[in-house]
Amino acid sequence: MTTLHAHDAAHGHDDHHDHPPHLAHHWDNPKQQFEAGKLGMWLFLATEVMLFGGLFCGYSVYRHNHPEVFAYSSHYLNTTLGATNTCVLILSSLTMAWGVTAAQQNKIGLLKLMLVLTLMGAATFLVIKYFEYTHKFHEGLFPGIKFYEKPGEHSHMWVNVDSAPPGAAEHAATTETAPAGAPASADQLHAASGGAAPASAPAFEIQTVSITPGTGAALPPAEASTVLPAAAGPAGLGTGEAIAIPEAELLRDRHPAHMQPLQDPTRPANMHMFFNIYYMMTGLHGIHVVIGMIVITWLLVKTFKGQFSSEYFTPVDLGGLYWHVVDLIWIFLFPLFYLI
C-alpha cells in the first residue's frame, strides 16, 4: 500500500515540504496515512475471508450430503503432522506479533530476529506440507481423476496379490494386479463407456455393482441404468471389486488408513471428493503461506535497510495482520480435516 517511494517520476518535486520521507503527498499527516493503511488491510483481509469462505461452504455442503466420505477419508491424514503444523504456525504468529511490538519499541535488532523466526516457521510449515503431500501422491491419493489410477510400484499401502500369504490364491477372483472395476487407463475407460468425450475426460457408464465384502467375488453388474445417480458415480468410482485378501489378512493390522482405498471394499462412493476439497483448501492456503513468506522477506530487506523505526513501522504492522489471518485460516482447516 502506501510506502516510502511516494515521489513518482511524474511529479516534479519543486515544492519543498518538510514532511517525513515516508509520508505520501496526498496525506495530511502520518497518522492519517497509517489509519488508512490499516483500514485498507482489514478490507483486504475481508476479501481473503470471502475467498476461503466459498471453499468452506463447499466443504459444508459436501460434508452434510456425504458424511461417510469424510468419516472414512479423514483417517488418511496424519494428525501428528497436522498438529505440528498448527503449533508451528501459532508460534510464527507469536514471533510476528513480537516483531511488531519490537518495532513499536524501536528495538530493530529484535524485529530482525522475529522476522527471521517467523520466516523459519513458515518454511517449516511448507516443508511438513511437502512431506504430507508427497506421501499421499506416493500412495496414489491424487486430486482429480488420477485418484483412480493404480498407485506406483513402491506404494506402502498397496497389496500385491503375488506377495499375499499362501492360501490367498484359491480365494482370488482375479490375478490381475489392477483391481477389477478400477480402470487401468483412461483409454480403457473411454472405450468401455462408448462416450463421446475424448479420452482425457471420459464419459462413464453407470453400473450398480453389489459386492459381499470379504468373499473377493462380485456379483455381475446390474443392467446399465440410464439414470445418473448423483452419489453413486461411475463404475470404478463406486464401491468396486476388491482384490481377494483372506479374512485373516483383512483383520490383521488393517486399519482403514493403511489400505489403499482402491483395494478396500468398504470404501464409500466418491471418496475422491474428500481429497479434492482437501487439496484445494490446503493448497490455496499453502499459496497464501508462500505469499506471506514473500511479504515477510520484503519486510526483512527493508528492515536491514533501516527503513523502520518506532515512528514508522506501518508495513510491519500490516504484514503482521496478513500473517495472522493466514494462521487463522489454518486453525480452521486443521480441525475440519484432521480432527473430525
Binding site: A9, A36, G53, G54, I145
Partner: protein, 565 residues
C-alpha cells in the same frame, strides 16, 4: 489534503499546466500514479471493449434475422453471444463507472489530491489489462461457447465446450482482483480523505453510490474468484465438485456463481444511480429531493443484494421454500429502487431545467430504468417466472437495466464530466440527436423482445420457429439504429477533442467540488482550498457572462446545511 497556495489564480485557463500536459510520453501514462490519468486509461480501455462487445452484439442480431443460418453456423453464433455477454459484463459495465469515471471524479469531489493508494490504483488498471489479454486469449485457444454464465456440466466437458474456457476463466479471475482493489481503494478514500466540513451527509450522492458499490466489490468479488478457480481445476484435473459423473452437483455451481453475479448487477447499477442523482440535480439547478433516503437506499440495496441470488435459479430444482424466500426478498430490493425514481422525478419539480445532453440521458434513464425495474417484478414473481425464465423476456429485462440504465447513465456521466476531463465542449445538437437515436434504437430493439419472450422464444437460440421471425427482424433493425447513435456519439466526442470549444471550469452550474477546479484540472487538482458546503444548494450558483462560466458565490464560507421548504 490540498496544499494551500493562494498565490495561484482560482481558475487557471487552458494552456497552463493541467494533468494532461503535466508530463509527456506514453510511459508517463502507462505508469502514472495520477488518478485522473488512470481514469482516462480505464475509459479508453472500457470504450474499446464496448466497441468489440457491441460488434459481437450486431453479429448476433444480424444472424437472428432469419431462422437457421443467416450469416454463420451454430458454433460461431454460440461464440458470438458468449463473447458479447462476457466482454460486456466483465470488461465494460462492471469497471465502467467506478474505474473510469469514479477514478477521475471521486478524489476531486472530495477535494483530495488522489485516492488513498495510488500505486494500488495503477495495479488495478494493469490487472484489468492482463485480464483482458487472457480473455482475448480464449479466442486463440479454442474459442468460448459456454454462455457468459459458464454453467456446468457443459463448461466442464472438454468434449463439448470449446477449449478457450480456461483462458477466459483466468481472465475473469484476474479482472476480479482489479475490481476488488478498486473497491478497496475507494472505501478507504471516502473514509479517510473527506475534507473538514464534509460529513457523510454532505457528500455528493455519487460518492454514496460509489461507496456502496465498493462494499459489494470487496465482499462479493472473491466468491467469483474462487468459483472460476474451481471451474478451472474441474476442467483440467477433473476434481468433480460440479460434475455429476464424478459425484458433484451442477446446481452447487449455480449457487456459487450467482452469489457473486447478483451483487455484480448491483455493482453495475448503483454507480449509475449515483450519476443520475448528480445529473438531475445539477441540470435542474435544484436540490436533490430526499437526500437521506437516496443515501440510505444505496447502502440498503448493497446489503440486500447479497440475499437474493436464488432468483436466477427458480427452475433449477431448488426447494419451494428457498424459492419463496428468494422471491420475497427480491421484492424488498425493488422498493428502494422505485422510491429513488420518485425522488429523482420530484427533484425536477419547480426546478430550472436545462435540457442539455446529460439531462436528456438522465431522462432516458428514468424511462428505461422504470421499464426494466417493473419487468423485474414479473421475473421475481414465482408463478410467472416459471414461464419467463430463459426466454427473451429475461434478455429484454436485463438489457433494460444493464444497458439501458447503467450504460446510459455512464454515457450521461461521460457527457456531464467531459468538459472537466478534456477541457473541451462537445457539439450539443449532435449530442441531443445521438441521445434520441440511442433512446429510440434501444427501445425498438429490446421492447420487442418482451413479446418474443412471453410467446415462448427461448434465449441463446440460433434457430427458432418461423412465427418468431417478425420480432427478431424488428429487434435487429432497432439494434442498427442504436449502433448508429453510438457511432455518432463517438464521432462528435472525438471531434471535440480536436475542435471543441474551450470548456469553462463550471459549464453546468454544479456545486460539488469538482466544478471548483479548472477544466481540465491541474495535476494536484486544486490550486486553492475548495469550499465545502451543501453540494446541492444551487441558490448561490450563478452564470457569469464575462467569464463564460457558472460561479459559486460566497466562496470561503460554507453555506448552511440544506434548507427546508
Amino acid at each position: 489534503m490540498t496544499t494551500l497556495d493562494i498565490s495561484k489564480p482560482l481558475h487557471p485557463t487552458i494552456g497552463e499546466d493541467n494533468y494532461l500536459t503535466h508530463t509527456r510520453g506514453i510511459l508517463s501514462w502507462l505508469f502514472t500514479l495520477d488518478h485522473k490519468r488512470i481514469g482516462v486509461n480505464y475509459l479508453v480501455c472500457v470504450l474499446t471493449s464496448f466497441f468489440f462487445g457491441g460488434m459481437f452484439a450486431l453479429l448476433v442480431r444480424t444472424e437472428l434475422l432469419t431462422p437457421g443460418k443467416t450469416i454463420v453456423e451454430q458454433d460461431a453464433y454460440n461464440q458470438f453471444f458468449t463473447l458479447h455477454g462476457a466482454i460486456m459484463v466483465f470488461l465494460v459495465i462492471i469497471p465502467s463507472i467506478p474505474a473510469a469515471l469514479g477514478n477521475f471524479v471521486l478524489p476531486i469531489m472530495l477535494g483530495a489530491k488522489d485516492v488513498a493508494f495510488p500505486r494500488l490504483n495503477l495495479m488495478s488498471w494493469w490487472l484489468w489489462v492482463t485480464g483482458a489479454v487472457f480473455f482475448v486469449g480464449s479466442l486463440f485457444t479454442g474459442g468460448l461457447d459456454t454462455g457468459w454464465t459458464f454453467y456446468t456440466p457443459y463448461s466442464i466437458d472438454k468434449g463439448s465446450a470449446m477449449g478457450g474456457a480456461v483462458s477466459a476463466l483466468m481472465g475473469v479471475f484476474i479482472l476480479g482482483f482489479s475490481s476488488i482493489f478498486t473497491g478497496l481503494n475507494f472505501i478507504v478514500t471516502i473514509h479517510r480523505l473527506r475534507p473538514p466540513g464534509m460529513t457523510w451527509f454532505r457528500m455528493p450522492l455519487f460518492l454514496w453510490a460509489i461507496y456502496s458499490t465498493a462494499i459489494l466489490q470487496v465482499l462479493a468479488t472473491p466468491v467469483i474468484g474462487i468459483t472460476v478457480a474451481l471451474l478451472m481445476f474441474e476442467r483440467t484435473f477433473g476434481i468433480g465438485i460440479f460434475d455429476p459423473k464424478l459425484g458433484g452437483d451442477p446446481v452447487l455451481y449455480q449457487h456459487f456463481f450467482w452469489f457473486y453475479s447478483h451483487p455484480a448487477v448491483y455493482i453495475m447499477i448503483l454507480p449509475g444511480m449515483g450519476i443520475i442523482s448528480e445529473l438531475i440535480a445539477v441540470h435542474s439547478h435544484k436540490h436533490i429531493f430526499g437526500y437521506r433516503f437516496i443515501a440510505f437506499s444505496s447502502v440498503a440495496i448493497a446489503i440486500f443484494s447479497f440475499l437474493v441470488w436464488g432468483h436466477h435459479m427458480f427452475t433449477s430444482g431448488q426447494s419451494p421454500l428457498m424459492n419463496a424466500m428468494f422471491s420475497a426478498i427480491t421484492f424488498s430490493v425493488a422498493i428502494p429502487s422505485a422510491v429513488k425514481v420518485f425522488n429523482w422525478v420530484a427533484t425536477m419539480y419547480k426546478g430550472s431545467i436545462s435540457l442539455n445532453t446529460p439531462m436528456l440521458y438522465a431522462m432516458a434513464f428514468l424511462f428505461i430504468f422504470s421499464i426494466g425495474g417493473l419487468t423485474g417484478l414479473h421475473l421475481g414473481t414465482l408463478a410467472v417466472d416459471i414461464h419467463l425464465h430463459d426466454t427473451y423476456f429475461v434478455v429484454a429485462h436485463f438489457h433494460y437495466v444493464m444497458m439501458g440504465s447503467a450504460l446510459i447513465a455512464m454515457i450521461g456521466g461521460l457527457h456531464h464530466w467531459w468538459p472537466k476531463m478534456t477541457g473541451k465542449m462537445y457539439n450539443e445538437n449532435l449530442g441531443r440527436l445521438a441521445c434520441a437515436l440511442v433512446f429510440i434504437g434501444f427501445n425498438v430493439t429490446f421492447f420487442t423482445q418482451f413479446f418474443l419472450g412471453t410467446k415462448g422464444g427461448t434465449r441463446r437460440s440460433w434457430d427458432y420457429l418461423p412465427e418468431f421471425q417478425v420480432y427478431h427482424i424488428i429487434s435487429t433493425i432497432g439494434s442498427y439504429i442504436l449502433a448508429i447513435g453510438f457511432f455518432l456519439t463517438a464521432g462528435y466526442l472525438i471531434h471535440s477533442l480536436f475542435r471543441g470549444k474551450k470548456a469553462p471550469a463550471n459549464p453546468w452550474g454544479g456545486r460539488s467540488l469538482e466544478w471548483q477546479c479548472a477544466s481540465p484540472p491541474p495535476h494536484d487538482n486544486f490550486a486553492t482550498t475548495p469550499t465545502v458546503g451543501d453540494c446541492y444548494d444551487f441558490s448561490t450558483v450563478e452564470w457569469d457572462e464575462k467569464q463564460g462560466t457558472f460561479v459559486v458565490h460566497g466562496e470561503g464560507q460554507p453555506s448552511p446545511a440544506h434548507s427546508h421548504h
